[in-house]
Amino acid sequence: MGIVTTSDFRKGIKVEIDGQPYLMLECEFVKPGKGQAIYRTKLRNLLTGAIIDRTYKSGDSVQSADVREGDATYLYRDKSGYVFMDTETYEQYHLTAEQIGEPAKFLKEEMPVRMVYWNNTPITVTLPYHVVLKVTYTEPAVRGNTAGNVMKPATLETGATIQVPAFVQVGDLVRVDTRTGEYIERANQ
């Protein structure tokens, strides 16, 4: 791909460092005294999720990363991991739990996701920020202890366990934030 110089640095660009793709999370312009400008950046490794700091002098350049996103559907899980289908090409791809990270536990069959490709190879998926899932198991609420601020564990249909308010019951639908793994609200129709 191309070269990105510091003047093109901004939040959201994807670059390659030491042969790995990174997403720029922050870019701070620093200019001491009469000197050359410096750009302090924070980047997330798109393969490992690790966040690193890098500082560049004005005029430095890095390789841009060929990273694109496309629509895909989660199909099923098998021994080797999670299987997705590119909704444009109908091509099927395997991703491991490590590649998807924490949100993998909220994947439900037929769920639409955004597949992230690096050099045309899928490296991870992004789930919808909010998903609605059914509670398959949770202890009944202790009587008199149903105030909203008391939390208890609940198992969801995907197997994930999250903390829910005491009033949530088996069979309820709950809305969950896939980025934080937190309960948002009850979503019964």
């Binding site: 312009f29 620093v30 001491p32 005294g33 000197g35 050359q36 400008a37 500082t55 002098k57 004005s58």
Partner: protein, 332 residues
Amino acid sequence: MISTCGDFLPACPLSVLELRARLLKVVRDFFSERGYLEVETPVLSHDVSVDAHLEPFVTQWMPEDASDTGSETLYLQTSPEFAMKRLLAAGAKAIYQVARAFRNGESGRLHNPEFTIVEWYRVGATYHQQMDEVEALIRRILGNKWGGFPRLSYREAFLRHIGLDPFASDMAALRTAITVRGLSHAWQASADEDKDTLLNLLLAELVEPRLGQESPEFLYDYPVSQAALARTRPDNPEVAERFELYIRGVEICNGYGELTDARELRERVCRQNTLRVKARRRALPESSRLLAAMEAGLPACSGVALGFDRLVMIAAGASSLREVMPFPHELA
């Protein structure tokens, strides 16, 4: 560009504007009490500072009846320095102004392409006397809550915070320091790289963040290669009479025992232009009315440029200029 309903709204609360106005009055009272005359000089000028790392906004003068696109190039001032020194050469003794300055490409937490400079000069003052002046002004604005402001030379600062002598170290030693400190990712060898590039990186990453933490702190006696328009110290040709004040890692002002030697100015401007061309920046005009003023005779003097917005930021307890400017770059 972007159009949403709330897009006209200022970035900072109106209460910050009251603070700005109050501090501006404090500044004016301060200089007036000390016998400085308030002056105004052009923001748009034929002359411009020639600095390797300062990019001016450039525009064209268009006579009203002109059919062409205009042939006279004008520059928005990166500071009012040139015009104010012309006034000193013409006999002014002590002058100050609150001016708008413009620097192309500079936008960030502590930078806005358009900002407010408080700049002042006094004939006969030394740069250490101007540090006294800065200290008195800062106490007036932020409160008299510290002992004396420490004065740390550039050399002492590098020795204290990095453990190396910036003058005695060669480029290899500086590169090693950068690598050892885990900053090597910040350093890519490039055509325009020189010792100042490396010193600058070390300063920004390892020294500046530690300056002015207990109380405001002066950094002074910069390498002569970073003199800008400061004069070389008569008793030490390695250093220039330049200082900056830091408050909690933020640079607040820049002061000089002023260069008065016209021939030296011509040489420095030429050197800066060479650096600009090497860095693929446009060359800027080397002759100026400042040069003419210095040839006619600029008296020994010392001056300071202070970033007013940064001072307001600190007075407001904010950490970004965007919190104290109604319409920063993105909203202007």
